[in-house]
């Protein structure tokens, strides 16, 4: 391990040999890194293509009706995906509507308001929520949360909000407890740790001089958060939100316990429904016929496409925000 000897050798070899060996190593490293990146893209493309190939019979047989029909009949082999698509989108939307403000509140609390001794423990507690397996959330949802919803919350919603003309249809229905609202709330609880931890990490990275100059100018805490912290961190915040949304879209086990697995289209949030991931998980092993299997794979492809679209929209939105603000 004699560094002096190594330096002597390095100095004594010709400059050209040193340069070419270094360049070769650099070239190899570039190839490996590019290879790794392309490998991911290739795997993604192969997944999409294989799902497209296996789902093609269903698309060919049902055409556009597959996206707007509500029947799912394995006996007569008539399949249409509106109910699972609607369920996936609605539960994820409810989850994000609840999770984003709550996570924002948690992040602001932990970075601005909480006393320093409290920040560590509370942050750890919230991140522990992320470690709980999703099937535990499903079981907790079914055994604890569903009775709570059906005894207290659903009847209240049905009685008070169900009568409002227009949007009342969203909130009326028998208080089963299982349904899209319950599933949305359980998903929100699962998603909050991810979104809040990203937000908190990135809020704490705002340079103190920047925040302090806001305070110095007489801004209130909320004004500093809104006008200094958020614009500085918006890319990461949007990234965190879409990370949470991605999890909510694909969540299977927790949703299948509390959503009700009913292939019925209903406008009410209190009604049971179905989601793409839950439908595939429930029915795939017993899908005996080719058309049934193909319909389920087509559903999977739809989820893939929906996730892809959502993430692309996020990217586009970020690009536009960057362009507008000139950064």
């Amino acid at each position: 391990m004699s560094s002096a000897a190594e330096t002597d050798t390095a100095l004594s070899s010709s400059p050209r040999r040193r340069a070419s060996s270094a360049a070769a190593g650099d070239h190899l490293f570039r190839l490996l890194a590019a290879g790794a990146a392309f490998l991911v893209l290739i795997v993604l493309a192969m997944v999409a293509l294989s799902m497209l190939y296996d789902g093609m019979p269903a698309f060919r047989k049902f055409g556009w009706h597959f996206f707007v029909g509500t029947e799912w009949d394995p006996v007569t082999e008539q399949f249409a995906a509106l109910v699972p698509i609607y369920g996936t989108l609605v539960t994820s939307l409810i989850a994000m509507l609840i999770a984003v403000p709550v996570s924002f509140g948690i992040a602001v609390f932990l970075t601005e308001i909480a006393p320093t001794w409290m920040r560590g423990p509370v942050a750890i507690a919230i991140e522990l929520l992320a470690g709980i397996p999703s099937i535990i959330y499903g079981m907790w949802g079914l055994f604890v949360f569903v009775p709570f919803m059906s005894n207290w919350v659903d009847p209240w919603i049905d009685a008070n909000l169900g009568a409002i003309p227009g949007i009342g249809a969203l909130f009326s229905g028998p208080p089963l407890g299982v349904g899209m609202l319950t599933a949305g709330i359980v998903l929100a609880i699962m998603v909050i740790p991810f979104v809040s931890s990203v937000m908190r990490d990135v809020f704490s990275l705002v340079p103190p001089p920047l925040r302090e100059s806001g305070f110095a100018l007489g801004a209130t805490r909320w004004e500093v958060v809104r006008n200094v912290v958020l614009p500085y961190t918006r890319t990461a915040v949007v990234g965190g939100i879409f990370l949470g949304l991605g999890r909510a879209l694909g969540e299977t086990m927790a949703v299948t316990f509390v959503l009700g697995n009913a292939f019925e289209f209903s406008t009410s949030l209190l009604a049971p429904g179905n989601s793409i991931a839950a439908a595939i998980a429930n029915e795939f092993t017993e899908a005996e016929t080719d058309m049934y299997r193909s319909a389920l794979i087509a559903l999977g492809l739809l989820l893939f496409v929906v996730t892809f679209i959502v993430l692309s929209l996020a990217k586009l939105m970020l690009l536009r925000m960057a362009r507008e603000k000139g950064t």
């Binding site: 055994f143 028998p174 697995n261």
Partner: protein, 342 residues
């Protein structure tokens, strides 16, 4: 340097040591399919492993999965709750025989109704699951149950969300006794339920029924006993009100016309006997008529002979119902005739 060399030596020694473990001289057969039969099959496998040297490896992936695996030849036997027709069996070169009986029981969660208090008949059950009978104090139900106080509660139907042989037998019964059900919904391991929520597996249905007020669902008999659920009595084809029990299931098996069923292609629902339970169901084993490995097939048949004979006690302990002797003889004769492994 010394430490890493030492670690390397230990790792190499460990690898060599692992490969020196003597290979166990244990035979193995594999099967896949119905979840209905899984509890008793794994108990039989454990008991049989003690007296023979056979390890039975069973994957409870559902009847549809079992059929697919045996057709693909990746397992030695498949288990299905839904029998294949003789044409389908011939096309695939498969033999089929029944193994054990269970029952499907409607369970409820209605305020004030205790286990066994309520009585339902086929048309009432069909009406409930079609969504036409919506409340528990509906006149159709009150007529069947004079003297029982039926509350003014909405009926919440619970069915299976996953494809299942239990569902198949249940909707098969409904199709037999209700032309409207047969036309609107039909039968299969997965159907388009007109109403209700879906639970995953028997456990899911049981959980939903216990949690939703006014719920009715259908689960296997073993579940009802082990979870002490509120079951209903049913009116059978002969007009008798029967309770779910080993005796009424066995009556259904005895009166079912097995001798005339080619390849045992018979679903036991709505059995004609006087005390027969209308929702008795059986699990079928599928094996190749000309197995690629005759020795493995023979070993498998040895296991099934054990199950049909000495395994009866274990089956009863797990709330399954063994076949009567007449049917067991018929099954063994079928093996001699159809499966070329003896």
């Amino acid at each position: 340097m010394k430490l890493s060399r030492g670690l390397l030596a230990i790792a190499v020694a460990g690898l060599i040591g692992v490969t020196q473990v003597p290979a166990q001289a244990q035979q193995q057969i594999t099967g896949a399919g119905s979840t209905f039969v899984y509890p008793v099959l794994s108990r039989w496998a454990a008991d049989y492993a003690k007296e023979s040297n056979l390890q039975v490896n069973y994957q409870a992936i559902g009847s549809g999965g079992g059929i697919a695996q045996i057709k693909a030849g990746t397992v030695d036997f498949g288990a299905t709750d839904k029998p294949l027709s003789p044409d389908e069996l011939n096309a695939a070169g498969l033999a089929q025989f029944p193994l054990v009986i269970g029952g499907i029981v409607p369970v409820l969660n209605v305020t004030g109704i205790k286990a066994g208090e309520l009585k339902l008949d086929g048309p009432a059950l069909a009406g409930i699951f079609l969504g036409k009978i919506k409340e528990w104090n509906d006149p159709a139900l009150a007529r069947l149950n004079p003297g029982v106080k039926l509350p003014h509660e909405r009926i919440s139907v619970v069915h299976r969300s996953d494809g299942s042989g239990t569902t198949f037998n249940f909707v098969n019964y409904l199709s037999k006794i209700s032309p409207e059900w047969k036309e609107k919904v039909g039968e299969g391991t997965s159907v388009a339920w007109p109403t209700g929520v879906g639970g995953k597996g028997n456990a899911g249905v049981a959980a939903y029924v216990q949690r939703l007020k006014g719920a009715i669902g259908y689960v296997e008999y073993a579940y009802v006993i082990q979870n002490k659920m509120t079951w209903t009595a049913l009116v059978n084809a002969a007009g008798t009100t029967v309770k779910p029990s080993a005796e009424s299931f066995q009556q259904a098996a005895a009166t079912a016309d097995w001798s005339n069923a080619k390849d045992f292609d018979l679903v036991m629902t709505n059995a004609p006997g006087k005390d027969a339970y209308p929702l008795a169901a059986t699990v079928f084993i599928l094996m190749y008529k000309q197995p690629k490995d005759a020795a493995r097939a023979k070993t498998a048949l040895g296991f099934f002979r054990y199950a049909l004979d000495k395994g009866q006690q274990a089956a009863k302990e797990l709330d399954y119902v063994p076949f009567p002797d007449s049917v067991v003889k018929q099954i063994e004769a079928y093996w001699q005739a159809s499966i070329h492994a003896m």
